[in-house]
């Protein structure tokens, strides 16, 4: 694979897994990568952790940095939240998350 590229695995709401190549040098997050591949992720607030339309469930044992207060605040008010809920916009594309598996949460937030 080219330098500066990792693969993230997104399970959509129909259960289909999409293997997406994502660049680590474009300051992107998971929500933006999903949108660039036209997966059904709304990202309404643009990535400010102020809506939960990019909520997903962490399905792999990838180590992620601790969640920020703003992410926890938003998840506090979100619907369909589980213990492994994350906001895609708060997951930075970096080498550390190569191979991560995320499942999109239902629509309705």
């Amino acid at each position: 694979m080219a330098d500066n590229m990792i693969t993230i695995h997104i399970i959509d709401r129909e259960g289909v897994t999409h293997d997406l190549e994502a660049p680590t040098d474009m300051n992107m997050n998971v929500m933006e990568v999903c949108r660039s591949y036209e997966l059904p992720v709304e990202g309404r607030c643009g990535g400010m952790a102020m809506c939960a339309t990019c909520q997903c469930y962490l399905e792999s044992d990838t180590e992620l940095p601790e969640q920020s207060d703003s992410e926890l605040d938003m998840l506090d008010e979100a619907f369909f939240v589980e213990d492994n809920s994350r906001l895609g916009c708060q997951i930075h594309i970096s080498d550390e998350i190569d191979g991560i598996v995320l499942k999109l949460a239902p629509e309705g937030n």
Binding site: G46, D73, D76, E77, F79, F80, N109
Partner: protein
């Protein structure tokens, strides 16, 4: 009937700046917005967040930018219909439009500019079965008239400031006969003093605090009788109540914009980039609400779109008048009397 030159639907940054650009051409504007204050999502969602890509401002808080835009547009005396959402756009004789709000306020102008951003802000509704069946029959998403809860049993859901503050209000003013506050987590992230007050009222037995739980169902024959509350451990209880008030903030949705006979693509209005006109002559769409090849949802780009659109609007209103671009540096800003 409110009459003006340009009706602007949406009082966000792009709508407000368009008042200024229209004013330079001596066109008067009236803004309509569903929110009770101007500023759109900048004021409603992120007033304290910094914005770094407004030319000339290395950094500016969203709320401050709105204040400055209002100040800049003030000489052109815009009118406002706030707290009402535009529902219909009807064409009448003499190439005029009538825009009517959900409260029946009518506005008449030869030009309509839709600067609706992400759409109309509506309450976020939790995914509870039957919820819509009980709307206005025991389920309310906004507390408009607290007196309606006098001596009633009320279940409030949510963990933010509005859930906390209304719970406190309904108890401290001896309104609700019984108040339960249901929240999905054990901690609250509202203002610390509100959280403390709720904890104190719970301690004193005045608020029935139900945490690590969610309302998952509603029961009643016609009007609401009880809510089904599911705890994190899987157990479930039925709680009798007169009202269920889920307070989970607001979210924008395209709403009636989709019914105005405009060409919609990817949840946005398609425009001609020559002048940001829509497929309905006389109606323009500017800012985040529009789409075209190469569209960028930036405030900066919305300012440009509004500026171009008012030139086209002028030519439409005054087809025989000559118009030349005048620099504000040369002419100054000559506001309306």
């Amino acid at each position: 009937m409110i009459e003006t030159d340009i009706i602007i639907i949406g009082a966000g940054p792009v709508g407000i700046f368009t008042v200024f650009e229209a004013g330079l051409l001596k066109l008067k504007c009236h803004l309509i917005d569903s929110l009770p204050q101007a500023g759109g999502q900048l004021t409603e969602i992120y007033p304290k967040k910094p914005i770094y890509d407004i030319p000339g401002y290395p950094t500016v808080d969203a709320g401050e930018l709105v204040d400055k835009l209002m100040e800049q547009s003030a000489p052109f005396k815009p009118g406002f219909t706030l707290g009402e959402s535009a529902v219909t756009i009807d064409e009448v004789e003499d190439d005029m439009f009538i825009v009517t709000t959900n409260k029946g306020t009518k506005h008449k102008a030869p030009i309509v500019m839709i600067a609706g951003g992400l759409g109309v802000f509506e309450p976020r509704k939790p995914p509870v079965e039957n919820l819509e069946k009980f709307e206005d029959n025991g389920v309310e998403y906004i507390i408009k008239d607290p007196e309606m809860y006098q001596d009633k049993k009320v279940v409030v859901a949510g963990g933010g400031d509005s859930a906390l503050d209304w719970s406190i209000y309904l108890v401290e003013n001896n309104i609700a006969s019984e108040l339960s506050l249901v929240h999905r987590r054990s901690s609250f992230r509202g203002h610390l003093d509100s959280v403390q007050k709720v904890m104190d009222l719970a301690e004193a037995g005045k608020i029935n605090l139900i945490t690590e739980a969610e309302v998952v169902g509603l029961n009643g024959n016609g009007s609401l009788d009880a809510v089904q509350i599911k705890h994190k451990d899987g157990s479930s209880v039925e709680k009798s109540t007169d009202h269920f008030v889920p307070l989970f903030g607001l979210k924008p949705s395209l709403g009636p914009i989709g019914d105005w006979g405009l060409e919609i693509e990817k949840n946005a209005i398609k425009v001609n980039t020559r002048d940001y006109s829509t497929n309905r002559p006389g109606i323009y769409a500017i800012g985040d609400v529009n789409t075209y090849e190469g569209k960028l949802k930036l405030i900066l780009c919305g300012f440009h779109e509004g500026t171009i659109a008012v030139q086209s609007a002028f030519a439409r209103i005054y087809p025989d008048k000559k118009n030349v671009l005048k620099y504000t540096t040369v002419n100054g800003v000559n506001g309306f009397e």
